[in-house]
Symmetry: C2
Amino acid sequence: MQNTTPESTYKSLTAELDRLHYLESTLGLLGWDEQVNLPSGSADHRARESATLADIIHREATQPKLGQWLECLENSLANLSRDTQTVVREARRDYDRNVQIPAEFVARKANAQSKAYHAWAQARKDSNFEYFSPFLEEQLRLAKEEAAYLGFSDNPYDYHIDQHDPGLTGERIEALFTDLLAGLEPIVDTILGSKFKADPGIFRGFSEAGQESFLRSVVERLGFDFSRGRIDRSLHPFCGGTGADTRMTTRFSEDEPLDSLFGAIHETGHGLYEQGLPQEHLGSALGKHVGMALHESQSRIWENQVGRSRAFWDFWEPPYRKAFPSQLAGVSSEALYLAINEVRLTPIRVDADEVTYNLHIILRFNLERELFSGDLAVKDLPARWNELSARTVGLTPASQAQGVLQDIHWSGGAFGYFPSYCLGNMLAAQIWHTLQRQIDGLEEDFRMGEFGRLLNWLRRNIHSLGRQFDTMQLTERVTGQPLRPDSLLRYLEERYLPLYS
Amino acid sequence: MQNTTPESTYKSLTAELDRLHYLESTLGLLGWDEQVNLPSGSADHRARESATLADIIHREATQPKLGQWLECLENSLANLSRDTQTVVREARRDYDRNVQIPAEFVARKANAQSKAYHAWAQARKDSNFEYFSPFLEEQLRLAKEEAAYLGFSDNPYDYHIDQHDPGLTGERIEALFTDLLAGLEPIVDTILGSKFKADPGIFRGFSEAGQESFLRSVVERLGFDFSRGRIDRSLHPFCGGTGADTRMTTRFSEDEPLDSLFGAIHETGHGLYEQGLPQEHLGSALGKHVGMALHESQSRIWENQVGRSRAFWDFWEPPYRKAFPSQLAGVSSEALYLAINEVRLTPIRVDADEVTYNLHIILRFNLERELFSGDLAVKDLPARWNELSARTVGLTPASQAQGVLQDIHWSGGAFGYFPSYCLGNMLAAQIWHTLQRQIDGLEEDFRMGEFGRLLNWLRRNIHSLGRQFDTMQLTERVTGQPLRPDSLLRYLEERYLPLYS
């Protein structure tokens, strides 16, 4: 390499990272389209498209010249700016991971994921775990194979946790979850033993068109930029794409209007994070999110701390009544607010309230650990699910569709992802208490339908930083404390105990 | 290459062609999504995604090993099956073309096309050609540059015609169009001079939802397989994707319900062709369409020869009245049929009836020839459009949006495409007369809502052949005659003169 400076090498590196970013976002669009638009008979075709592109991406991401550029930059790291150091550090992490995973494996995994997704959708429809079982076994086998490539043969589950939240381990999460569970139990007992009960029967016949129109106005007012994003429908709500083209989904049921609304607010939290990342750096670590727990903290703050607050509904109740005048005619404000903050046991994670939701995650975390350790065989999963569900969540699902088949994640090989939801809940509460200390009259803003100061604070303190810090570092930097369950427990007590006692 | 046989080399070749096919269909999905879903602010991002993928495809399509395999197969061509010979011949054509066009050019063109598309959409909205003009100049410049790479520096327009319909030239088309125009003029004069006039005022307030539901039932009954395809909405209707996942679009206006319906039937003709190609060979010439004129002949047969026939409406009129009872209450069957076969001058090509449509194409063909020869500068295009429109179509558009900006094609660099529409009309009529000779009681089928015999004939005689023959060869093979304007003129006389005299 003659006539190269660290500056020119860095420029070559980021140009290549940008190319990779565009290929990856194209692969993301194939995935979004698969869940939103794909005709049922085109699944195999899509699997091949995705596998072919994944294979190309893998080849591009493992070009030896990337390794050479990184080495060259690492040799003069001390002279480079902190931003450059961040980009090089994260590019190295990605590069090493990609080099250690064979291209053949990547294509095989993409193909198997697409097939497993469709098998899961069919199995869930038929409430028939046996149909999905071989696909899940394959996913688990692939997950262990992948971990082995990266040197995690002895602790493959830790590898998958690290993929979602770098630096965390199964052991560390277990310690956090043990403390959380201990603190949650008395709160859940108090609420479930209360004589105050939300009335789920108050929601009937909310037209899909009316729900969609209302939630769009909410999503827009929270700050989501529709000129760089969309919201559509899918079986399982998600937020995909990047800040340049953010694709959220929700789903509708005429008798569960809060499901589509809070689903949309949740995904909006994700979408706002993506749209708030530095758009000029989307290809490098400076423009990427920190990890899944932090991503989830953003969706949870908007969904729960903001969206279920009295102040929020002081503003939104009148337009909600205007959108559904006859449906809400006999419902008092207090009954509406209690329904929004209903706590009750349900077998379905995504239907769960923010109190008992954490129990669902602890259930999945324990099952994943057992699947990865080999203590639990896939064929025994439905029975073990029901057994642990009775113990942790407090009930046994009535069917496999309502139990072990309810979540999309495992069909996509996304093991080690579930814990991030609960870690995100903890982090959301910890950030929320920090926010309240730092912004005067925040809830007064919500009462006026103003969410700009909140969004700007999140942009300044979190979104704009990209991946400069990892989850634990950023938590301490933003909240002044390591991640702990205390804030979440305190927040739940503050919000729910007054309502239920 | 040791231990290789022609068979193993052919296997390697088709595996690589399949990979290319999946990458190309992914690029196609980026294009479909751009027109159906893309947020306005995400155009630049999409342009970069498309350019990056186009660049990858170009690199993959020009791998030296492809050239080596082709050479190896060409050396033993006489011993290979006819199918294999077809695949090798067409793969060679594509390979040579790809090798002669630099990767850098491909990326530049994809990027410019995406930007030009959005500029065109904006310019059309504002009826402001000047805004689009530099983008069109760039498209024309790129089109000439591309032709030059392929050795067409002296006749760049012929290169673009050849891209759409191999073997045809500007000169040959001019001869066909001259004869057609001479035959068309008396027909148009007779119709426009007739005292019988369709009443466009009979269509008012046809809800979009009602239109969509009706056209879906039509499209499905014609044989379109919704398990391998979709129909959505876009500014300009089109049919994209492949037979494995066919994506059609239409557009709605409450006072022009025939526009969405016949647009959808037209795209269904394209879609049925794609779905009828041998699905196991989608990656090679055995599973690809012959060319644009033939593609258009398929859409035109379904739209016009079938969809505007009395027999077709004998079946569909009752359900149409059921779908729109109040709107059609005062409309007689004869008035409805006349409206379906309305002939009147309009400045808008896609609004034109099947008689005067051909005049719009002849206008564009002449303008494209002048743009490519250099006789016409882009800045003078609006004035020249109006002048030639008055002479050929018989009227001057009221605005640029209604004139020179009405079509999407040039924004995508699709020069030499327009003639295919008119060639397709000729071919459709020629196939139609052949069909009528070969299938007894075809129109009786339509009267019963049966379209299977027609579709099967098209599948057997055209769709299933893939690209074994070129347009002119297939025309002779199927119809027993070279392509001529006679059938189209006779068909138009048969259909329209009884209605208008």
